[in-house]
């Protein structure tokens, strides 16, 4: 079977890797000469993966049985529709359906309209002035984001709990709103700024394949969005992720898992009602375990996550069955089966990521293959390109190191050993703390605390509710 992957990063590398194990003949279309895809694919087409015509041209040359679109930007650009129209089978959401990820305004509005569990209060704004006025009127704890998916860029979560720091926080919020607009992070979206209620808690991702009716959930994965160790530093696309021995994470309960799955199910239905076509492809829920709802939706991905894919794909034992089910447009009765081992993935990025990517571009990196083999870890290539037999950084998240073991901690140690095998004259960094005992303990504590408060609220019928009392106005329940 001919399998063509569209996308340029570690996610696509990991998908291609599994496709090879399924015995497929793999082809790839990428922006860059990704060394992983270069090695695995029979042919790598370097092209603009946002250009439907260019992708269709490559697809027509290959005549694949399956086109798997990994990259969200390709989905947003309508590449899946273009390839489908050309008569090929595609795993990937349509441009319309991918709005669930592209526009947080669409996603939040949908959840609101259909009264879905795990929703948050939000407002979108057409310009800086409107958003600024809102910040002046409502000086609370908020998350300020570009309405459009911007790869983690431009997200600020500002807790406004100390009255004595209110002015500083208000100034920062307003400056950030201006930055979102000035940097054009929402591109063509009408309302570029989204402000939503701030929640806090442990985050996790539930990735699913769906034919529009049936859903195949994969192992739950926990990503780490802060750039630097100790959960400090700017928001990134994710600096590494972990998963447990079983399908759930060690700090989540079965109920947390089930609730999250039900949310994904309901969203799949709601999207179909809203856009008039079934959702076909991958839908991933990015959740936070909060005291308000338990699992609460932070965002949806219209594709597999990155780095979350790299935790999943090396362990997914029946990818072939899933792909063939998707080809029949019916995945009823299929469930994903995984190796019973915990995983850790950590990303090595060049200095400059995420806020000054240009400085991190074009630096040679070296890999000590011999030493690497001894560690038992495996590398998946992200923003790294091959030129004249050498590897260079692309400025974004470079190499994702995967390891599996009996425990997350053991997998993390293997990844650390492997990280020593990657060197450069330019400064590289990764998060040593991901998967350590100390950080896992912290997650357990955070999750337990959120569940305790949630249970108290549940007993009083307060789930999902916010009750405010405003002097002169009275009680407002939302």
């Amino acid at each position: 079977m001919k399998f063509m992957i569209v996308g340029s990063g570690a996610r696509e590398h990991a998908i291609a890797d599994n496709a090879i194990r399924c015995g497929y003949e793999v082809y790839a279309a990428s922006d860059i000469r990704n060394p992983g895809l270069l090695e695995l694919s029979k042919e790598l087409f370097v092209l603009d993966i946002l250009n439907g015509d260019a992708v269709v041209e490559a697809v027509e040359k290959v005549q694949p049985d399956v086109v798997f679109i990994g990259s969200e930007e390709s989905l947003f650009a309508g590449v899946s529709d273009a390839v489908r129209e050309a008569g090929f089978f595609v795993i990937g959401a349509s441009k319309k359906a991918a709005d669930i990820e592209k526009s947080k305004g669409f996603m939040r509005g949908l959840m609101e309209k259909y009264g879905l569990y795990g929703r948050l209060r939000f407002k979108t704004f057409a310009n800086i002035e409107e958003a600024t006025r809102y910040i002046d009127e409502y000086a609370g704890s908020v998350a300020i984001k570009p309405t459009r998916q911007a790869g983690g860029k431009g997200v600020k979560v500002i807790a406004d709990l100390q009255a004595y720091l209110k002015d500083e926080k208000s100034v920062a919020k307003k400056r950030h709103v201006s930055d979102i607009v000035d940097q054009n992070l929402s591109q063509d979206l009408e309302d570029p700024i989204l402000i939503e209620e701030r929640v806090e808690g442990v985050e996790f991702t539930l990735q699913c394949f769906t034919d529009g009716t049936h859903i195949i959930p994969l192992k739950i994965v926990e990503d780490h969005p802060h750039a630097f160790v100790e959960d400090i530093g700017p928001e990134t696309g994710g600096m590494g992720a972990i998963s447990g021995v079983d399908n759930n994470l060690p700090f989540l309960t079965k109920r947390d898992y089930d609730t999250s799955f039900e949310i994904v199910e309901k969203v799949v239905c709601a999207i179909e009602k809203e856009i008039g076509e079934p959702y076909f492809g991958v839908l991933s829920g990015q959740f936070m375990l909060t005291e308000k709802w338990g699992p609460t939706v932070i965002e949806f991905y219209s594709r597999l996550g990155d780095p979350e894919t790299v935790n999943i794909m090396p362990q997914l034992e029946n990818f072939d069955e899933i792909v063939r089910g998707m080809m029949k447009k019916n995945v009823e009765g299929i469930s994903a089966s995984f190796k019973k081992k915990a995983t850790a993935v950590k990303i090595v990025a060049p200095k400059g990521y995420p806020n000054n990517r240009d400085m991190g571009k074009g630096h040679e990196i070296r890999i000590d293959q011999k030493a690497l083999e001894k560690t038992g870890a495996k590398l998946y290539f992200g923003s790294v390109y091959e030129k004249d037999g050498k590897l260079y950084t692309g400025g974004s998240r470079g190499i994702e190191i995967f390891a599996e073991a009996e425990s997350v901690e053991a997998a993390s140690d293997m990844v650390e050993a492997a990280a020593l095998c990657i060197t450069s004259d330019w400064k590289l960094f990764h998060r040593k703390d991901i998967g350590t005992k100390a950080l896992l303990k912290k997650r357990h504590e955070q999750a337990d605390l959120a569940r305790d408060i949630f249970r108290y609220r549940e007993e009083r019928g307060l789930i999902g509710k916010s009750i405010d009392w405003i002097p002169g106005i009275g009680k407002i329940e939302t």
Binding site: K156, Q162, E168, H176, P225, E230, G233, K351, N355
Partner: protein, 406 residues
């Protein structure tokens, strides 16, 4: 004694001076004689240094006049525990000396070599115990001496700020989340594009200042993995077990000794009552005098267990005992939640000199006579270590044995 703090905003939308100001308030208990605050706008370091307390002498418009996204602060019991210029600011808690000469070592090293090597070279040029924060035009560096005598913690706020401080109180006050203690001998370098944590390649046995747990740190702080309030309650339990008294009421001297007294009361079954109210600032008596008023009814006709955190010269305690007797206390039994102080501190804590310490050559009975108490009892050092469950401390002021910190 001194306290340090620092903030690094990864995004220039933040002006951090007021955050640093509140951090300084939260470590003010570690020193009230002088302070310094330094903020960089990534081009130049702007600073203010003054004598007095932060709250009394730093005006709001002075704070807002300091513009920039990275900053540090220090408070001290001395004239100045630090160095400031327009390209480097250093504040420390400890016993090192930092003048233009040492600062120049750091300045030159940062200009010529790898920044970790540069910090190490600077560390080699100074001698003594320290937890310090260093501000350059675009970096925040935190470092702790090889034994970790003084505390230092790191945390963060959202996706925006990295935060360091002597105690977690200075994290809580700005809504920061504690990540962990910076380790003895560790260097943390915070830059816009990375955080480097460089552990000590040849770690030594830690020697945390044991005085922190009984006296220095705030009750709401967590340092070196210990919750101060929990430790003080444990001490109260140990005191009650080993120094029992047949009495009617337990009174604690505010603020530090309150947890000792609460736990003593709970363990012994003797009710606790409020005996004192302070007038004026809640600052340390050993550092700065403040008036203490007695609550009239708490002790009249009663046998009192009076609990305090330490006895240095005995003069304050004698006054307090006397006040209680004048309010009608039938008996006054003094119990101290820390071991005897018998020697000076070479690491920057102002324990008085040996000839000023009442415990140096007086027995418990003699001390009781001097301070006019019925009985007098200390916690002993072994019991304190038992409460802490470790041996990794500098106990110099209680044992005359000091660790090698350089």
């Amino acid at each position: 004694m001194a306290g340090v703090c620092g903030i690094f905003a990864f995004d220039e939308i933040w002006d951090v001076s007021r955050f640093v100001y509140y951090q300084m308030l939260a470590v003010q208990s570690r020193g009230q004689e002088s302070f310094g605050i330094a903020i960089t706008d990534l081009d130049k370091v702007h600073s203010i240094s003054k004598t007095g307390t932060v709250q009394e002498t730093l005006a709001s418009d002075e704070i807002s006049g300091l513009k920039g996204s990275v900053g540090v602060g220090g408070v001290s019991t001395r004239a100045m525990n630090g160095y400031v210029s327009d390209d480097i600011a250093i504040f420390f808690d400890g016993s090192v000396t930092i003048t233009e000469k040492e600062a120049q070592v750091l300045r030159e090293a940062l200009g010529t070599m790898d920044e970790v090597e540069a910090v190490r070279k600077f560390q080699d040029s100074i001698s003594g115990a320290y937890s310090m924060v260093i501000l350059t035009k675009d970096k925040l560096i935190a470092a702790r001496d090889k034994c970790g005598v003084k505390p230092l913690v790191i945390g963060g706020v959202g996706f925006d700020l990295a935060v360091v401080a002597s105690e977690t109180s200075a994290l809580d006050v700005i809504g920061a989340e504690l990540s962990r203690d910076i380790e003895p001998g560790e260097i943390v370098i915070i830059d816009k594009n990375y955080i480097d944590e460089i552990k000590d390649p040849s770690p030594r046995k830690p020697a945390q200042c044991i005085f922190e747990y009984v006296y220095m740190s705030r009750i709401d702080s967590r340092i070196n993995g210990y919750d101060i309030h929990e430790i003080r309650k444990k001490i109260g339990v140990i005191l009650a077990k080993n120094n029992p008294v047949d009495a009617d009421v337990v009174i604690g001297v505010p603020e530090t000794a309150i947890p000792f007294a609460m736990a003593y009361a709970n363990e012994s079954g003797i009710p606790i009552d409020l005996g004192f109210m302070r007038t004026g600032k809640h600052l340390r008596t050993a550092i700065r005098p403040s008036q203490m008023e007695r609550i009239r009814t708490a002790v009249r006709g009663k046998r009192v267990v009076l609990i305090d955190d330490s006895v240095v010269r005995g003069t304050t305690m004698r006054n307090i005992v006397n006040l209680l007797r004048k309010r009608g206390a039938k008996e006054v039994h003094v119990r101290i939640g820390s071991p005897k102080l018998v020697a000076a501190c070479p690491f920057g804590t102002e324990v008085p000199t040996t000839d000023e310490l009442i415990a140096v050559d007086n027995t418990d009975d003699e001390i009781a006579r001097i301070i006019d108490a019925d009985t007098f009892g200390y916690l002993d050092l072994k019991q304190l270590k038992e409460a802490l469950g470790s041996e990794n401390f500098c106990t110099g002021c209680m044992s005359k044995t000091y660790p090698e910190v350089d």
